[in-house]
Symmetry: C3
Subunit: 338 residues, 3 copies
């Protein structure tokens, strides 16, 4: 969707110098792929020459860059990356999904669809599901009975949402995701066989959440699994039953969070992290990729990086790694000497 530099500058809160306000921009690109009507960005003034040499039509630059006399229109922004992200959202083409329900979709007569809802080919929407205005359900997705989606949600193809799951507004769910499946809870009987503990709770997801491809989030056993507002999950993340995750949490790919764990707000979790059950991760903690938190532990310290298995403050973990290396080297030197 084309916009003039003036419109873009206003939207992203950037300063546009010179007389290029009416130049039209059609999209964003990287320095290497930009064509004439593309907007690019640099975060470091040292890259200005390279950006000017690109084919881009305009450049978002840090405020430290002098804009006068540049060979291309420049937009000065406090955070060029954030400004670029916002410009990209402004310039993005609207999704081409047809409005309305594809004739091959199966929508239960008691499901409720808001205004402007799109339901893709072969999607299934079960009884009493409620799809909010302008939400889109992808091809072959399965929306269970009583599921509630807020407005402007995007459900990709082949997603499964189990009955009763609730999503807020603007939730993006990538392909292959499973929401609200049974948690992993069994009780051994007198003969040592496993009988199923009831998994009849719900899953409640806030607004502005994004869930990466093939993630799985279980419903609560008796209560709810909860994902806060603005939280973002990378691909193949697993979240067990009764877990409560706060707002603005990011979790990188292939991390697993066991049952009944509580994660505060603004926590950052790396990839392939393992978190045991009944753990508490307090607000703002950072867990390095591959680290492991044992059952029942409490991890504290906003902004403090924890790493290793079991996870400990980064400084301590690095010291241990260095100690091992040193002792192994020493032992090896000794052998060579002997």
């Amino acid at each position: 969707m084309r916009h003039t530099l003036r419109e873009i500058a206003n939207h992203i809160g950037a300063e546009l110098a010179g007389d290029d306000a009416s130049v039209e921009i059609s999209g964003v690109a990287s320095l290497g792929t930009a064509a004439g009507k593309h907007l690019v960005f640099i975060e470091d003034a040292k890259l200005l020459a390279q950006a000017l040499a690109s084919k881009a039509g305009a450049i978002i630059v840090p405020v430290s860059v002098e804009v006068n006399g540049a060979a291309k229109p420049l937009l000065r922004a406090k955070s060029p990356r954030l400004a670029f992200a916002r410009a990209a959202a402004l310039l993005a083409e609207p999704p081409e999904h047809q409005l309305g329900v594809h004739p091959s979709a199966v929508v239960h007569k008691d499901a409720k669809l808001g205004l402007g809802v799109s339901v893709g080919p072969h999607a299934v929407v079960q009884r009493a599901a409620n799809i909010g205005a302008r939400s889109r359900v992808g091809a072959n997705a399965s929306i269970g009975a009583g599921v509630s989606l807020g407005s402007q949600c995007e459900i990709a193809p082949n997603v499964t949402i189990y009955s009763g799951t609730k999503l807020g507004d603007r939730v993006v769910v990538h392909a292959g995701v499973v929401l609200g499946s049974d948690g992993f809870g069994f009780v051994r009987d007198e003969q040592g066989k496993y009988e199923k503990f009831p998994q009849i709770g719900t899953l409640v997801i806030g607004n502005d959440v994004e869930i990466g491809a093939n993630c799985t989030i279980d419903r609560g056993a008796l209560e709810s699994t909860v994902i806060g507002n603005g939280t973002k999950l990378d691909n193949q993340v697993h979240i067990g039953h009764n877990v409560r995750i706060g707002d603005n949490v990011v979790i990188a790919a292939q991390t697993g969070i066991s049952g009944s764990t509580v994660i505060g707000n603004n926590v950052i979790v790396g990839g392939q992290v393992g978190i045991g059950d009944h753990v508490i991760i307090e607000d703002g903690v950072i867990l390095g990729s591959g680290s492991g938190v044992l059952t029942g532990k409490i991890v504290r310290g906003a902004g403090v990086v924890h790493w290793g298995i079991p996870a400990k403050p980064l400084k301590q973990h690095l010291k241990e790694l260095a100690t091992i290396s040193r002792l192994a080297q020493k032992s090896s030197d000794k052998k060579q000497k002997d």
Copy 2:
């Protein structure tokens, strides 16, 4: 499904005191969510006051609790958790899937459906598949040619079962699971390129198995991959070709088991465990979360916990962790002293 306390007590083998036998219960709940017709449970007598203060209609308690004069009906059970699980199963509403084949499903004319089978919208059942009595196939699921399902299986939406896979009775397969895909087997040719080793074996799954969302279990290369009776898999577990898993095994989320490994009965495997190929895990072994077993190893000891990478008996691993901590601390003290 409502039942009287008498019916519930009889079903779960609990002792019901007093004259509340005809009180009706409609379902189970947690202490926090219970309403008047709900059954709750406590495992510790100390929680009795809290349970009595809840809105629950009746409480399952340990046999140690004195039932006389309590303000709510109490059911005394040897294992309150097990009794509660059984009561929950008794009280569960029957699934609301329509009986029969949804008009949008594609069922091959040579597939065989038992009595009371349900096939959901847009599900596909290929040639010569055999779906046992009262089994349910979810929306958009794909059942390959010659697949055999026992009775009362529950196949969730978007599940894929490759041709020839065999499931026993009462197998629960959660959404997004892939059963019987090709194993990972290649041979390098003279130029170093990989050619495919045949993956033409089968996958055989016993009775009462539950498979979590987005798990993948490969078929055998030339023989079979086998999952025993009563074994339970959490979400995103991966099982390679030719693996043989015994009965009553539990495997937590995101664990991966490489090709041709053999796992005995009653083994407990934590989350994110990695098991190399051609490993033997003997009956009753417990592998802690995040541990790793190297190719070709044998792990022994019913009830013995193994942990770490490479996995070793817990005591030894903890000793190593403590040693590292101590030496790092010592080295750090020394530096400060210097």
Copy 3:
């Protein structure tokens, strides 16, 4: 598909002794499962007696084995495993998918299907997608707008390919795979909330690639994610945005590769490996299962095995493991002595 031993010997480049050239073989099997018309193989001459005792119709043996006077026809091959794989491919039954588009599939009128393309029940092929000759799209698969598939690709059921993704020829994509989903890129705004960084690049996959069940490969943010020719991925592998993987790479199950990492040709990556972002893995490196490579690192050495977290040359890692064990033992001996 039946072939005579002569045809098989010619196809796999094996030497067939004796007068059995016209014996017909119908398929391959293991020693344990072989029936009379099956071909088996052994890699070790010591297994010859066992193979001769099987019910197999013929045996591929190493060139070191003397063929004269054997009770079964023998085919001598330099690499019996490779010869067996090639014989299996020759003897494999052609897939039974119907040719053409199943009546329940939804194929956009502007999609282009090559000669002999098969589209399964309830599959969806969106606008301007291009499916190459003799490619097969499985049941309930979703092929996005503008996706391009080369010839003879096999897309299993419930696969999702996002718009614009490009696959070469003979690419095998197993069930539940997601190709071209958005990468994980967000920018924090002034209030600490995450806004989406554009994920508008593409995913380009070469020829002869095989992708295991439930893998996820993200599109590039602004540029492309690239997978080279002949590369093979096991199940549940995750590949982030902008990653570039070379030719003939094998990656075992549940490995995760973070954004913008570059992997050379002929690299071998074990299972559950974690690779940080902006890493370079040079040609021919071998990463042991469970190892972790930190953000920004370069791993060098064709044929050199790296292991551990952080990954280091195998010899060094083993020395560290041994040192830890020894010191823990010493400390424990000391305690007992005290």
